[in-house]
Amino acid sequence: MQKKIIKSTIILFIIFIIGVFFIGLNKNSIYDTKNLVGQKIANVQLEHFSENRIITEVDLKKNNFTLINFWSSWCSPCRKEHPMLLKLNKEKNLQLLGVNFKDKKINALKFLRDLGDPYNVLARDELGKHSINFGIYGIPESILINKDLVIIKKFIGPISQDDYRYIKNIVRK
């Protein structure tokens, strides 16, 4: 009797393990931070790109929604997403905060001259340190937040046509 209980427990346990392995096989093993939404952004202290001032939370509350976009002139996917940002610039409920990441000032200015400047506010993160505060791990990356500074969605990699539509739907609601 005792033997039977041990036997069935062990068998059930093994079935459980194998089941987990089986489901695990079909999971994507590449990690991203897309699930980290719903957090509140705090301790914002960004250097303004051209003016001698610090951008803080106050700047992020100026519109109903803010899209914080990390970019650089040396990043080629950033060029790809640029037209989407220009289109988003036309949305009334949305302000765009660009953060120029580990870039030279001249190159960044040339980039914006050539492709257009979609940003309402532009900040500069010369050493990349501030990006950590936003949970950025590679550029381009964008974060959509609302007036309460709560993260609604993270966009890892360039903003696509679908992402554009998604953002448009949210800010127009």
């Binding site: 990690y31 931070t33 699930n35 980290l36 957090q39 580990k102 050493l127 990349g128 340190k129 990006s131 950590i132 505060n133 936003f134 949970g135 791990y137 590679g138």
Partner: protein, 121 residues
């Protein structure tokens, strides 16, 4: 007498030892962080853009006098538990941390019972 000598030795020995510094070691912290864009590499071992940035930030935080735990907590909040190689002890990870010791205790108990059974015979 012999026991006294031993204890004396041990005390002398460990007094010298515990003088080891209490400041946070940069390299140790970096080794405990995963480089998110690499394949199974720690931040200390990597030279990627991301690792370089994290190194700067951790350096700053140590200079600000943050404790090791505070630094990990900060990064876990921003990047999720995936970034630390030492999973924090919480509900989800409790099995990971406790099960090995449970096995250890049960194993010891089994051997003990086996021996006791024989002594009773």
């Amino acid at each position: 007498m012999r026991i006294k000598i031993t204890i004396f030795f041990i005390i002398v020995n460990f007094n010298i030892v515990s003088a080891a510094d209490s400041s946070v070691e940069l390299n140790k912290v970096l080794k405990n962080l995963r480089c998110l864009i690499c394949q199974g590499q720690s931040v200390a071992d990597s030279n990627s853009e991301f690792a370089q940035t994290i190194k700067l930030v951790v350096q700053d935080q140590i200079a600000d006098g943050k404790s090791e735990k505070e630094i990990y907590d900060f990064l876990v909040e921003k990047y999720g538990e995936w970034i630390v190689y030492k999973p924090p002890l919480n509900k989800v990870n409790s099995v990971l941390w406790l099960f090995p010791y449970l096995v250890f205790v049960i194993g010891g108990l089994l051997i003990f019972l086996l021996l006791k059974k024989r002594n009773n015979h």
